[in-house]
C-alpha cells in the first residue's frame, strides 16, 4: 500500500482536500492500482495523525465521485471502471474550471497558447501510456 504522504496543515488547503488530491494523483499515476483496496479509515488516520472523520469524509467524497467504491463489510477499493456519474453539464463545468486555472497560470507566466497546447498534448500522452501499461499487467 503506497499511500504514504505527508500533509501540510499550515496550507490553505483543508486536510480532507489534501487527502483527496493525493488519492486522485495516486490513482492517475498508478501507485494505486484499479481494484486495489485502500487502508481502513482508522489505519490511514493514525498514520497521517489526523481525525478519522477527516479521512472518512475524503473517502466519501471520492466514492461519490466514482473514483473509489465501497464494498460493504470489506472495505474501500479503487473503482474498477471509472463510472461516469456526473451530468454532461457538470462535467463541462468542472473542465472549464480546471482550464481557467491553467490559463491563469499560463498568462501569469507569459506562456503563449500554442506552447500551452503542446504541453497539454505531451502530458496527455504520458498519462495515457502510463494507464495503458497498467492495463496490460
Amino acid at each position: 500500500m503506497s499511500l504514504v504522504f505527508s500533509l501540510s496543515p499550515a496550507s490553505d488547503v483543508p486536510i480532507y482536500r489534501q487527502i483527496i488530491q493525493h488519492i486522485r494523483r495516486s490513482v492517475i499515476q498508478g501507485q494505486l492500482e484499479l481494484g486495489e483496496q485502500l487502508p481502513a479509515v482508522r489505519v490511514l488516520a493514525e498514520s497521517l495523525v489526523v481525525n478519522p472523520n477527516t479521512v472518512a469524509r475524503a473517502y466519501q467524497e471520492l466514492i461519490r465521485d466514482g473514483l473509489l467504491e465501497s464494498r460493504s463489510g470489506v472495505g474501500v477499493f479503487v473503482a474498477e471502471e471509472s463510472r461516469q456519474i456526473f451530468s454532461d453539464a457538470e462535467r463541462k463545468r468542472r473542465l472549464e474550471h480546471a482550464v481557467e486555472q491553467l490559463l491563469h497560470e499560463a498568462l501569469l507566466l507569459d506562456i503563449p497558447l500554442p506552447d500551452v497546447c503542446s504541453s497539454l498534448e505531451e502530458q496527455w500522452k504520458i498519462l495515457q501510456s502510463q494507464i495503458n501499461s497498467r492495463r496490460k499487467k
Binding site: 496543515p9 499550515a10 480532507y16 481502513a40 482508522r42 493514525e46 495523525v49 478519522p52 472523520n53 469524509r57
Partner: protein, 324 residues
C-alpha cells in the same frame, strides 16, 4: 464534522450515533471579585468527540475547565459532567475523568516509576501497558527522576499518568505548551490512540491551530469572555473567507457589511475578511463595482486570528449549522 456513514465497517470504529453530552455548560458566568472572567457561556460536548477549546490567553478557558471539573464554583449558571452536577461529583464519576492541568506539575523527588505507582494506587482501572507505551513515546525510562526531566519529558510523564487510568473523558489544558514538534506529534498520536474506543471524549485547549485542525472534530472559540463559535473545523474555515477586490482606480471606502473581520486597502486593492458569508454580502461586494473579486481560502490559523482580532465587529456567533 459531518457524521455520515462510514465507508469502512470495522467494529472498533466510531460510528455515527446520536451522542449524549458528556460535558454540559449552561449559562455559566464567573467573577473573580468584580472582574468578570466568563460571561454567560453555554456549551455541550457530545460523547465520542475530540473538542478543541480555543481562545487567546486570559479569555477564561482554564477557569471554565476548572468549573466543570468541580474545582471551582460558578458565580451563576451550572455545569454538568456525565449528567451530574459538577459541584457534587462523586468519586466514581471523578475516576472516569482524566485531567491534565496546565503546567505539568510532578513530584520532583519521585522517579518516573514511583510516579506511576503513586497514581495507580488511586485508580483501580490503571492500565500499566498504556502508561509504559506513552513513556516510550516520550523516551522516558522508569528510573529517571521526575525533577530532572525536561519540559517535554515532564509533559510526557503527566500525559502517561493521565491516560493510564483509561478515562472516559480526557480534559487537557494546553497540553502542547512548551513541547517540541516531535513531542507534539506524540501527543496527537496519543490522543487519537485514546479515541480508538468510540465512547472516549477529549476536551482540550490549545493555541496550536495546525494541531487542532489535525485531530479536532469540533471547536469552540472563547473571545472576550464570550463564546463566539461552536462548530466543526471545516465549517469555521469555510465560513471565514477573504475577498481580494481589485479596482482600476483607488478603492472606494470600506463598506459596512455584517461580519466584517478585517480590511486592508492599498492603491488599487481592497482585502476584506468576512465571517458568515451570505449571497447578500457577496452582492454587496459586487455593488462596489471592482474590476475583479477573488475569494481566498484561509488557513485555520489565519481564520482564527481574523476572528478574534481587535478590528472586527464582535456581534455575531458561528454555530454548527453545517451547510453541506
Amino acid at each position: 464534522m459531518e457524521n455520515s456513514a462510514k465507508p469502512n465497517q470495522q467494529p472498533e470504529e466510531k460510528m455515527s450515533e446520536p451522542a449524549s453530552p458528556v460535558i454540559q455548560i449552561d449559562h455559566l458566568t464567573k467573577y473573580y471579585g468584580t472582574r468578570e472572567i466568563v460571561s454567560d457561556l453555554s456549551l455541550s460536548v457530545p460523547k465520542g468527540t475530540i473538542y478543541g477549546f480555543l481562545g487567546r490567553n486570559g479569555m477564561g478557558k482554564t477557569t471554565t475547565i476548572r468549573i466543570f471539573l468541580g474545582l471551582e464554583d460558578p458565580t451563576r449558571g451550572s455545569t454538568k459532567v456525565f449528567g451530574l452536577d459538577s459541584r457534587s461529583l462523586p468519586p466514581e464519576a471523578r475516576a472516569r475523568i482524566g485531567y491534565l492541568p496546565e503546567g505539568h506539575h510532578v513530584y520532583g523527588w519521585m522517579t518516573v516509576k514511583e510516579c506511576g505507582q503513586f497514581q495507580a494506587s488511586y485508580f483501580p482501572a490503571w492500565n500499566q501497558d498504556i502508561f509504559e507505551t506513552v513513556l516510550t513515546h516520550f523516551r522516558l525510562t522508569s528510573k529517571m527522576k521526575a525533577g530532572h526531566l525536561s519540559r517535554g519529558q515532564r509533559a510526557g510523564l503527566c500525559l502517561a499518568l493521565t491516560l493510564a487510568p483509561e478515562p472516559e473523558l480526557l480534559v487537557l489544558d494546553d497540553p502542547a505548551l512548551g513541547l517540541d514538534p516531535v513531542a507534539r506529534r506524540s501527543l496527537l498520536q496519543s490522543m487519537l490512540y485514546v479515541t480508538r474506543k468510540a465512547d472516549r471524549t477529549i476536551f482540550f485547549s490549545s493555541h496550536l491551530l495546525s494541531d487542532v485542525e489535525r485531530v479536532a472534530d469540533r471547536i469552540a472559540v472563547l473571545d472576550g469572555k464570550v463564546l463566539r463559535a461552536d462548530c466543526s473545523v471545516e465549517t469555521f474555515r469555510r465560513q471565514i473567507r477573504q475577498f481580494i477586490l481589485k479596482f482600476r482606480d483607488a478603492p472606494p471606502p470600506t463598506p459596512e457589511i455584517p461580519g466584517l473581520l478585517e480590511s486592508f486597502r492599498s492603491d488599487r486593492e481592497m482585502a476584506l475578511t468576512v465571517a458568515n458569508i451570505t449571497p447578500e454580502i457577496e452582492s454587496r461586494l459586487e455593488a462596489l463595482q471592482p474590476a475583479s473579486i477573488e475569494p481566498v481560502d484561509l488557513t485555520l490559523e489565519d481564520a482564527f486570528i481574523s476572528y478574534v482580532g481587535e478590528r472586527g465587529e464582535k456581534t455575531f456567533f458561528m454555530n454548527g449549522k453545517e451547510t453541506k
